[in-house]
């Protein structure tokens, strides 16, 4: 990997545990990848200065109010939609520091599940017919008991 020279590749150390492969090979601190723990500059070839080029925003992406602007890349497959999307938008009015943010998102997830099931039924008329038939039979059986 370019720009990622580790310096020492020494794997030979004193071996008080000869039965254990690799014992003590990273005991020398210079062999540890994170020493110093925050290494600057990084051992990478990065073809841009900060910030990197921006991904075009083709769908609605929610943004934490603890950030100054959107990130430079993001996932676009599932923008907020429906009732769950409305709850998610409301949740993002609060910071991550505010418990309401997370509780509203967890509530939105549950609403999304119901919306997803409704979507499945719309796409599968046979399943929808079975469900409606099942509910009808159950209702008929319950009413007969009286």
């Amino acid at each position: 990997m370019a720009g990622t020279d580790q310096g020492s590749t020494n794997m030979d150390t004193a071996r008080p545990h000869p039965d254990i492969p690799g014992w003590g090979s990273d005991l020398p601190r210079e062999n540890r990848p994170a020493v110093p723990m925050e290494r600057t500059p990084p051992r990478l070839d990065v073809p841009w200065d900060d910030p990197p080029p921006r991904q075009p925003m083709t769908v609605e992406i929610l943004r934490s109010i603890e950030r100054p602007d959107h990130s430079r890349t993001f996932g676009t497959r599932l923008p907020p939609k429906g009732v769950s999307g409305m709850i998610r938008r409301a949740a993002f009015r609060y910071s991550e520091n505010d418990l309401r943010h997370w509780l509203m998102l967890m509530g939105a997830d549950r609403v999304d599940i119901v919306e997803g099931m409704a979507g499945d039924l719309r796409r599968s008329p046979a399943k929808a017919a079975l469900l409606v038939g099942g509910i009808g039979l159950a209702a008929w059986w319950l009413m007969r008991r009286d």
Partner: protein
């Protein structure tokens, strides 16, 4: 293309979805050849991660072949075999400049605390995951690594998360020669943490879990002592007895929010979701460490809060260290360990399952059926290929 999608808690489904496209000049499209289910995928599976949208393509451990590159990509070309770290990172921001690739500032709009990860809900950026036939890989010039010819594809897929996370767990323990290291959790990350603890010079490694088959595997794979927590009355007392009543120098939490072992934590953390999952492993780690010891956390918890004995941590003078693994930072050294024969990561793979059968794979892994340690999923295009 086929992809594994989240439908509701305890329900993943394989379905046909649109293939990914280049959306940023530095994107690449990868055809997946191996992908894993990770222990942290279980948190999504159980509905414990907020902002998990129905239809989310999951999976953050994958390797593959470059199918297409964006116009600005210079370091990859079509046909390259690559492993893709689970972190999405730019390489140039304040955090990446410090090699804290799991904390990149330019990869996740939806949270300031969480970095960008593949297939890990919108709390981690809303990216598609790797349990699919194709994946869009952002910042292709800095994230993926071309797999060296002498590295087996199944070792490579272990290098995308499980091995680096276990290694970083041991590294964050700041292990000194002769230290006693206790690892909570004998899943893939716990196994790699135990194995790595020896690299840092540990004198004794103890792995704690409740599954006998996993503990037996840990003894062989990681040359460690084991404790089944179901067979002891009190975890902290038991470990104190094992360590001359001092406690362990280093405790590693490799479990996270789906931990079992405490009715109170399971009820409030997993069933009622009043805290960010069950934190019993972390509770044990804090109470089992010696005074002045170190606790290293790589187990994943929800973003709200957890009930842990922070007062004990203060009174004992513990150092708590934690983070998502900066995978790319560790890769060169871990490859050296593989080449030196210190570890063969693919030894922990117990199941190789077609991607089409992903629902069964989750059932086997989550419910620990058939002595499962690590399942690997193989997409149709890679079935039959080495």
């Amino acid at each position: 293309m086929l992809a594994t999608t989240y439908r509701r808690p305890r329900r993943m489904r394989i379905e046909n979805v649109a293939e990914p496209e280049i959306e940023h000049p530095n994107d690449a499209i990868i055809r997946v050849t191996r992908t894993c289910i990770c222990g942290s995928d279980i948190h999504i599976y159980n509905g414990l991660v907020p902002d998990t949208r129905v239809g989310q393509i999951v999976g953050h451990e994958f390797v593959g072949v470059v199918e297409e590159v964006g116009p600005s990509v210079q370091n990859l070309k079509v046909g390259d075999r690559v492993l893709v770290p689970f972190n999405i990172f730019c390489g140039s921001c304040f955090y990446c400049q410090k090699e804290l690739y799991g904390n990149c500032q330019n990869a996740n709009s939806q949270s300031s605390a969480v970095g960008g990860f593949y297939g890990y809900t919108h709390t981690a950026g809303g990216y598609d995951g790797g349990q699919a036939e194709y994946v869009r890989v952002p910042f292709a010039d800095v994230g993926p690594m071309v797999i060296p010819d002498d590295i087996h594809i199944e070792d490579a897929v272990m290098l995308t998360d499980a091995f680096p996370t276990g290694y970083q767990a041991a590294e964050m323990g700041d292990i000194e020669e002769g230290d006693t290291v206790v690892v909570f959790g004998a899943g893939p990350v716990g196994l790699f943490a135990a194995k790595s603890a020896w690299f840092f010079g540990a004198g004794r490694v103890i792995v704690v879990d409740c599954e006998d088959y996993r503990l037996e595997f840990a003894r062989k794979f990681a040359h460690c002592e084991t404790v089944n927590f179901k067979e002891v009355d009190d975890m902290a007392v038991h470990l104190k007895k094992m360590t001359d009543w001092l406690g362990a120098d280093v405790c590693i939490d490799a479990v996270g929010c789906d931990a079992t072992g405490s009715l109170l934590h399971s009820l409030t953390g997993k069933l009622m979701m009043l805290q960010g999952g069950s934190a019993i492993a972390l509770h044990w780690a804090i109470n089992s460490a010696r005074k002045g010891g170190r606790v290293s956390i790589v187990g994943v918890y929800g973003p709200t809060f957890n009930a842990i004995p922070i007062g004990n941590a203060m009174n004992k003078g513990l150092t708590l260290r934690m983070n998502q693994a900066s995978v790319k930072r560790h890769l060169p050294r871990l490859i050296e360990h593989i080449r030196a024969g210190h570890v063969s990561p693919r030894e922990i793979i117990t199941h190789r399952i077609p991607l089409e059968d992903v629902a069964d794979a989750y059932d086997i892994f989550v419910n620990k059926r058939d002595n499962c340690i690590k399942p690997v999923l193989i997409p149709p295009s890679a079935q039959g290929a080495a």
